[in-house]
């Protein structure tokens, strides 16, 4: 319970008006940065880090934390409103968020998303506060085999979801193949580049997803305009508090889903190198699996927004933990925060807790306060944001395309990425029309590179033996879970066939 006492001192430190002011400013800036597609937590924090140099350490740190949180909330807005997933972890949210927006329920989707982000981050902060040390030690034992097992689970949650198996297979294989283009991880040889230097940088998944979903969506809307005009649907939706109360009701109804997604997100975020993205996909997959109406997913199921959002905010909190406690940043954004910590003369690690408790605990208490500020801010602004959807199509469509260009270029200043947006926009439109499921493509693309790297590093460690995944104490159970998830649909299918056969025999014998 000493943690509570320390947490209280942390809050005390924060209670200074100027510090709260900086926190607020940080959240606003973070929101702005998070809304710009392609720029998200990492770039946003990196850009705004120099701004904080002039402040005293605790103010600077809480402002940076505010930016970090604001950015996490901001990504939700562009995914739902414009179907432009500017952040990797916002892709899963978009699967159901965008259909909800098209049905005129954008305000509901966003309110639910914000609330659930808050709860997710809160749960993660509580876990952070009380279990910092044991979790950190677990993070230390994490190596490539564990990483591979976790990623395999992420894939497993997507198996058996979505349409015709042949088409899903093509999409997953294509996604993986796209992720292999470029220089080989282990040997450094160029793969699938066909002699082109431009292709050696590989395909970053953000331009591809922006193309598939952002531009693809614009084209899809265009093709439907003679039937359905989006502005008219959204105009019919009323603005007001009832969306927020409805979102609250839904959050309470699905409370356990939110809590499990948050815990899942926290644990995944805490593992170095993994982060919010697999967490959001896993949460989405699990939500669909455990839902009573799985067929509603992809067409506007609110749980499809709540689960990934809770997971990715919790993961965002979790990824800071190894940085602060061990000095090992679990994600690129945590690395930048760590740079900030160094800048003010502190050394993250176990000694920081002992030597500079006010600093550490103000940071931890700022996690709570920043979230409260962010969620209140977002909820008040939501109706205004939903209003944006009422912009006339002739104005909105070009703006979305421009946002897609911005998002694509912002990643790595490459014109190839901008062209990829166009190419995949057309491809995405055609695939959608032909009923090819896009989700497996995206998941394979996003997680493909890290999965292959983890697999090959593990095999190097074990000199080629696949048993390494089962021999290690942490990856063992994880690998078993992953295999179960892959074979579960097969087992279920087999069960159902046997059950039907039994029933047929019984009714046949009964005659």
């Amino acid at each position: 319970m000493e943690s509570l006492g320390l947490l209280a001192t942390g809050f005390e430190q924060l209670a200074v008006p100027s510090r709260l002011g900086f926190l607020f400013l940080g959240v606003v800036l973070g929101l702005l940065v998070g809304v710009i597609p392609g720029v998200g937590g990492t770039t946003g924090v990196a850009i705004l880090l120099p701004v904080t140099v002039f402040l005293e350490p605790i103010s600077a740190l809480v402002m940076l934390a505010g930016i970090y949180w604001g950015a996490m909330y901001g990504g939700l807005i562009t995914s739902i409103l414009f179907a432009v997933p500017g952040n990797p972890w916002s892709v899963a949210v978009m699967f159901d968020g965008r259909p909800l927006a098209k049905q005129g329920k954008a305000a509901l989707a966003m309110s639910a998303g914000f609330m659930v982000s808050f709860i997710g981050a809160l749960i993660a902060s509580v876990l952070f506060t009380f279990f910092a040390v044991p979790f950190a030690e677990m993070a230390l034992r994490f190596g490539p085999p564990e990483m591979f097992a976790v990623l395999l689970i992420a894939f497993g949650t997507f198996v058996g979801l979505g349409g015709a198996p042949a088409k899903a297979l093509i999409m997953m294989a294509a996604g993986f193949l796209l992720s292999t283009v470029g220089l080989d991880v282990v040997t450094g040889r160029p793969r699938l580049t066909y002699g082109s230097i431009t292709l050696m940088q590989g395909f970053h998944f953000v331009p591809i997803t922006i193309g598939l979903f952002g531009v693809g969506e614009v084209l899809y809307n265009a093709s439907e305009r003679y039937k359905v005009k989006i502005e008219e649907m959204t105009r019919a939706a009323k603005l007001g508090l009832h969306d927020i109360t409805e979102a609250l009701r839904l959050t309470i109804r699905h409370f356990w889903l939110v809590v499990t997604s948050a815990v899942l997100g926290f644990v995944t975020g805490l593992l170095p190198g993994v982060g919010a993205t697999p967490a959001s996909f896993m949460a989405y997959g699990i939500a669909q699996r455990t839902s009573r109406h799985p067929e509603r997913f992809g067409k506007g199921a609110v749980e499809g927004v709540m689960a990934p959002e809770a997971a990715n905010n919790a993961a965002g909190t979790g990824s800071i933990l190894p940085m602060l406690v061990l000095g090992i940043p679990g994600s690129p954004t945590a690395a930048i925060l760590m740079a900030g910590v160094f800048m003010w003369g502190f050394v993250p690690g176990p000694r920081l807790f002992v030597e500079q408790p006010e600093f550490v605990w103000s940071f931890i208490s700022s996690l709570y306060v920043a979230n409260v500020i962010a969620v209140v801010l977002c909820l008040t602004v939501t109706p205004l944001l939903a209003l944006m959807l009422r912009t006339p199509y002739a104005l909105l469509a070009p703006i979305v395309v421009v946002l897609c260009i911005v998002g694509a270029y912002a990643i790595q200043n490459s014109l190839l990425d901008v062209y990829l947006v166009l190419i995949f926009g057309v491809v995405g439109f055609i695939l959608r029309k032909l009923d090819f499921p896009l989700a497996p493509l995206v998941v394979a693309l996003v997680l493909g590179a890290s999965t292959e790297a983890a697999l090959r590093q593990s095999l190097i460690m074990s000199d080629g033996s696949m048993l390494i995944f089962f021999e290690r104490p942490i990856s063992g159970p994880l690998a078993v879970v992953a295999l179960l998830m892959f074979f579960l649909p097969l087992i279920q299918w087999g069960y159902r066939r046997a059950f039907r056969r039994n029933k047929a025999e019984a009714s046949g014998a009964g005659e």
Partner: protein, 165 residues
């Protein structure tokens, strides 16, 4: 025109797509063989994943091809002429806007694109479109260049020092 549209059936596009995927698969299989498709002594060789994934891709493509052959209905891919018209009206300006980015830069392109498109497709009045054409790049400039200093493609005139965008 309608006859042409109706002759492009969903079935034919699906068959076409599966053939494209199959060709891609074969392409990558060749590359995979070049890189070494097997399992070396320290795990998979660089070509292993491309090869096996391309094999899976090809299998899937053949599957889709065969099931597409069985489709009986002749539903057209583009369900109505208006659909084609709207697609072209939205798609071509978007494509042009993206293609000219290296020459005109983001800010000029966005202004011209938003202005012209809203005037032509949305039939806005000229001063409304002009307002949009000025405000959108201005907002972008303020946020991206002035505010967060995120580099964006700039026009040719910028590299010659003639214009600030």
């Amino acid at each position: 025109m309608t006859r042409l549209r109706e002759s492009i059936t969903l079935k034919s596009v699906e068959i076409g797509a599966s053939v494209v995927f199959l060709l891609l698969g074969i392409f990558v299989i060749r590359e995979g063989i070049r890189l070494g498709p097997g399992w070396g002594d320290t795990g998979p060789q660089p070509g292993f994943f491309p090869f096996s994934l391309a094999v899976l891709l090809s299998i899937g493509a053949v599957g889709v091809f065969l099931s597409a052959l069985k489709i009986r209905e002749t539903r057209p891919f583009f369900e109505a002429m208006e659909e084609v018209a709207d697609l072209l009206k939205v798609g071509i300006p978007a494509a042009v806007a993206i293609i000219v980015i290296p020459w005109l830069g983001l800010y000029i392109t966005s202004g011209v694109y938003v202005g012209l498109f809203s005037k032509w497709y949305g039939r806005f009045r000229w001063y409304e479109s002009l307002a949009a054409a000025v405000l959108v790049p201005l907002a972008l400039y303020f946020l991206l260049r002035y505010g967060f200093n995120i580099p964006m493609p700039m026009s040719l005139w910028y590299s010659k020092g003639l214009l600030p965008v």
